[in-house]
Structure formats: C-alpha cells, structure tokens
C-alpha cells in the first residue's frame, strides 16, 4: 500500500481497526480526541462497537466486560482519564484479560495541562493501579512506529492475556506524517480463547474474576502473573540504537518524541566532530535493562545522559541498568514544554566541558 499522510491520533485508530479491534470505549479528552472522532466514523464500517461512556471509570469497566468475551477491545485517553481507569486495569490484569490502552500523555500532576509530556512513565510501567501487577508498555517515536506498535499491542495483549499500553504524547497525537498500512495484518497464530465467556451452551459456565479469598489461590495467581512478566522480559524487549559506536563519549537514553529531538541534536554535534550515541527503549515495560547495560559498559562511554519530558521517571530504570558503572546525568522539561535540539546540545556540551577529553596514553 502507498504511504498516506495522517494525523497521529487517526493513524493509531486506523491501526487498531486493521488489527481486528471490534470494541472501542472512550471519553473525550485533549490531546487524543481525534482517535474517538475517527472511530465514530469508521467503526461501523468494520461492524464493531463505538461507545462514548459517561466517564473514564465506566470506560474501564466496559473494557473489562467486553474483554471477557474474547473480543479485541481498546480505549484511548490522556493522563487524568487513564488514572480513572486504573481500577479496571488492575482487575483485568488479575483476571488475565487482554486489552489495549492508548495514553496520549499530557503534563501533570492533577488536571495539569494539555501540552506534550512524558509524565505517566511511572504509572504505566510500574503497575498503575493497586495490586502486584504489570502491563506491557510500548512507546513509539514516529507515526509509522505508532501504527506498527498499536497493531503489535493487540497481538501481545492476546499472547499474554494481559493489558498492553501505548504511550505517546501530544506531539505523536497531533502531528501528521506519512504512514503505510500492511495490505493484510498478518500475525503469529494465537491459541484459541477457551477462556472467553461466549455463552455456556454445551459446556460448564466459565468464571472470570480477580477475587481469590484463599491466600494460596491468590498467591498462585500472582505466581502465574510473574511467569508472564518473566516471559515478556525474555521475548518482548525492544529498543533502537542511533549512531552508537566506539567514538561515543556520551550515550543518551531517551524515548518517544524526546528521542527524535535527541537525534537532531546528535546529527548537529556529529557535523562538528562530536560523537554522541542514543539508546532508545521502545518497550518501556519490559525495559531493556541488560541491553542498556551492555551499551553503557563500552570503555569509550564516559557518561550517560537521560533526557525526558518529566522530572526523571525513566531515569530510575536507567539507574538500575547503569548501577553506578558510569556517571549519570539527567535533563528534563515538564509542564508541556518540549526541549529543543539546541537545549539538548547545550546539556551535552556542559557534560563534555565537565569531563576533559581523555588523553591518549603515552607510550612507555
């Protein structure tokens, strides 16, 4: 198929349809409302259900109910709306139900603002709701990737019977870029959903629940969940390296929109003969800890600079990977302010000035 120009929110919506999503529940919120607008128009063509609920709390529970039937279900919202859904996400994780959540993040905390931010990294990657659980989180940095990862999220949600989330920011939602959709969405075969509540005629009724009053049964459920997260860490880690190599003195770690801005900064510095590399996590849960550790361990890397549109959230995962092997620095802007490439360059220069270039070893 030829490339077409689409707004991020619309491209994500179209990707979900093509991945076989049939049930979409929503409540409008900037900067992602075009997802709902697009699906209100297009969902009927696919014979699916579009439903605008009375609140995000209701959306969460509608997802829970619809997911129990084995359909591909999803929602999209932005930070405060996602918070309201957390109870249902926890229930779905506990009940082993697949579901896809699109979070086009905005500045917080509280009602915050409507401009781009990466403010919900903790909430997305560390569980979000109550209880001992994780959801799989993917972070696209351009619109083609947003399309590809949205489709993949439906597959992974089914594969692990677990909620999967796409986190983007207002920039991903609002900008237009060329995207290409596959003629036909091909995915690895998945097991038949024998767990789905599709009517009990001819078989025993199924029970889908997250309530286990027997502590042994509850612990057993937690062990099953942990096994899934361990499998994700083995099979679902995704990341990209940009201009990494033996000449890098500094390695940047950044994801999503922020990573593209870092790429521009890296290109500009390269033209001056300064070599900087970028490690970009694509899956932020599971986080590519060991892959990042390998990159920062190279002898030429003098320090690691994490850059986010937050006060330092992914930073904690980077700290875990680096584990004091190399000096760590951080730069972040918040509140909807997107750092410019010039600001990133300034931070890199500061860091380089603070650590004079290593002298070449004299011959004995």
């Amino acid at each position: 198929m030829a490339k077409i120009l689409m707004k991020g929110n619309e491209a994500i919506a179209e990707a979900a349809l093509r991945a076989g999503a049939t049930n979409y529940f929503c409540y409008p919120i900037t900067p992602q409302t075009e997802v709902a607008e697009y699906l209100a128009k297009r969902m009927p063509d696919y014979g699916g259900v579009f439903l605008q609920a009375e609140s995000e709390v209701a959306v969460g529970n509608m997802l829970f109910g619809a997911a129990s039937t084995g359909k591909r279900v999803f929602t999209s919202s932005s930070s405060p709306g996602i918070s309201l859904m957390q109870e249902a996400l926890s229930y779905m994780a506990g009940a082993h139900l697949p579901c896809v959540i699109i979070n086009i993040m905005r500045g917080g905390p509280g009602l915050g603002g409507i401009l781009p931010a990466q403010s919900d990294y903790f909430q997305a990657t560390k569980g979000g709701g109550h209880g001992d659980y994780r959801i799989l989180v993917l972070a696209p940095s351009n619109l083609q990737e947003a399309v590809d990862l949205t489709m993949l999220a439906f597959h992974l949600a089914d594969k692990y019977r677990n909620p999967a989330m796409i986190i983007g920011d207002g920039m991903i939602g609002q900008m237009m870029e060329p995207v290409e959709f596959p003629e036909k969405y091909v995915e690895e075969e998945l097991p038949v959903k024998t767990w789905a509540a599709t009517g009990a005629s001819g078989r025993k009724p199924l029970i889908i629940k997250s309530l286990f009053l027997d502590p042994n049964a509850l612990e057993h459920n937690n062990i099953l969940l942990k096994e899934k997260y361990d499998q994700m860490a083995k099979e679902e880690v995704r990341f990209e390296l940009y201009k990494t190599g033996p000449k890098n003195r500094i390695l940047l770690v950044s994801y999503g929109t922020m990573a593209r801005i870092c790429q521009t900064a890296i290109d500009a510095l390269e033209a001056e003969g300064i070599s900087v590399g970028l490690f970009r996590p694509i899956s932020v849960y599971p986080f590519p800890h060991s892959q990042l550790r390998e990159e920062i361990s190279r002898p030429n890397v003098e320090s690691v600079l994490t850059i986010e549109m937050s006060m330092g959230q992914m930073l904690e995962d980077v700290e875990r990977a680096v584990a004091e092997r190399k000096p760590l620095a951080f730069f972040g802007r918040t509140g909807g302010i997107v750092p410019s490439p010039e600001e990133v360059i300034e931070q890199i220069r500061k860091l380089l000035d603070a650590q004079p270039a290593p002298r070449k070893a004299k011959k004995a």
């Binding site: 490339k3 120009l5 900037t30 900067p31 409507i114 401009l115 207002g170 920039m171 609002q174 900008m175 237009m176 870029e177 060329p178 929109t257 593209r260 801005i261 870092c262 790429q263 521009t264 900064a265 290109d267 909807g336 997107v338 410019s340 490439p341 010039e342």
Partner: protein, 187 residues
C-alpha cells in the same frame, strides 16, 4: 536541499492548517519525508494559529522547529511573532494586504504578497492561503509546482467554481513568488 522548514501563521479561519497540509501532501507525493505539526494549546478566538511543515531528504528528527527556514505570515501578530525567528539567510513571506510593515532584518529575504486582496479580487477572500502557498512554492521550489497543482485539485477540486478561483490565485501567487525570487538573485 537537505531539509526545509516553513512555519505558516495567521488567525483562525485563514486556512493556515490547510495550507500546511497541502504543502505536506505535495512533499509526500514528491517522495520527500514530511512532518506537519499544528500549534495546539489553549487559544482564544481571534488568536494566532500556526503550523510548521518540515520537508526533508533525510529522516526527520525533531518535529519542533524554533527557527524555521521560512515563515509565511498572514496577519500582524504572526509577523511580530515569527519574523524574528526565521533562520539567517531565510525567507519571510508577508501577506501585505493585512500587514503594513516590513522587517528591518537585513539577513533574510522578504517577499510581500497582497494575498488577501488577490483572493478577494478573484472572488473568494478565503483563498488567501492558496495565494501564499503559490508564492511560497514559486519562491523556493521546495516542491514541484505541478505536484502542488495536482494536490490542490485532488483536495479542493470538488466544488468546481471554488476550485477555478483557487487554481487561478495559485498561479498568481506562484508568479509573484517566482519573479521576486528571480529579482533577488539578479540584484
């Protein structure tokens, strides 16, 4: 050209977003990498609206452009905001029907286009954006003019009468842009 960035700015209703989108479609059709970004945020009615288009031969990094290669400004507040931001050596296209000043910057080229007047004279004041778009492509050649014509026809060709006006003012804008750019290079 490696990368060209243009910010289009005016007030709501002047077709700023559409002009940027038409340019993006044209870039895409020409086989370039493109990004279109609107200003989104709290705005009051009558405030400024702007969008930025990046057209590039290489992978586009930052979609946020603080200092564009070119700014097309449709009203005075946009002139005040964006004229100082254009990169040195860049281009400023001014809708002189609504902006009665010119920049005192000596390090850029300014092209004055009476775009709103041209559009009104042609029978549709709302075609201001198409005049400016024509002038921009005439002055820069960033995308192929033939491709732009085909995109305008594709996207705005449904209402025949309006399309004929758009088509006419596109040519007028294009000619002005091309002539002024030629004068500049012979000066």
């Amino acid at each position: 050209m490696n990368q060209f960035e243009v910010t289009m700015a005016g007030f709501g209703g002047q077709g700023i977003m559409l002009a940027g989108q038409l340019l993006s479609y044209t870039g895409l059709k020409d086989g370039k990498n493109v990004v279109w970004i609107p200003s989104y945020g709290p705005e009051m009615r009558g405030g400024t609206a702007y969008c930025t288009v990046v057209i590039s031969d290489i992978r586009i990094g930052s979609p946020i452009i603080n200092t564009p290669t070119c700014a097309c400004v449709f009203n005075r507040p946009s002139f005040d905001k964006f004229a100082p931001r254009v990169k040195p050596g860049g281009l400023l296209i001014v809708n002189s029907s609504l902006i009665n000043v010119s920049t005192d910057r000596k390090d850029l080229t300014e092209i004055q286009v009476p775009a709103t007047q041209i559009a009104i004279d042609a029978g549709n004041g709302r075609a201001t954006n198409i005049v400016v778009l024509g002038a921009f492509v005439g002055a820069t050649g960033v995308v192929k003019y033939d491709t732009l014509i085909s995109v305008v026809e594709e996207k705005l060709g449904k209402k025949k009468e309006l399309f004929e006006i758009n088509r006419r003012v596109l040519d007028m804008g294009y000619k002005i842009g091309r002539e002024r750019a030629a004068q500049r290079s012979h000066a």
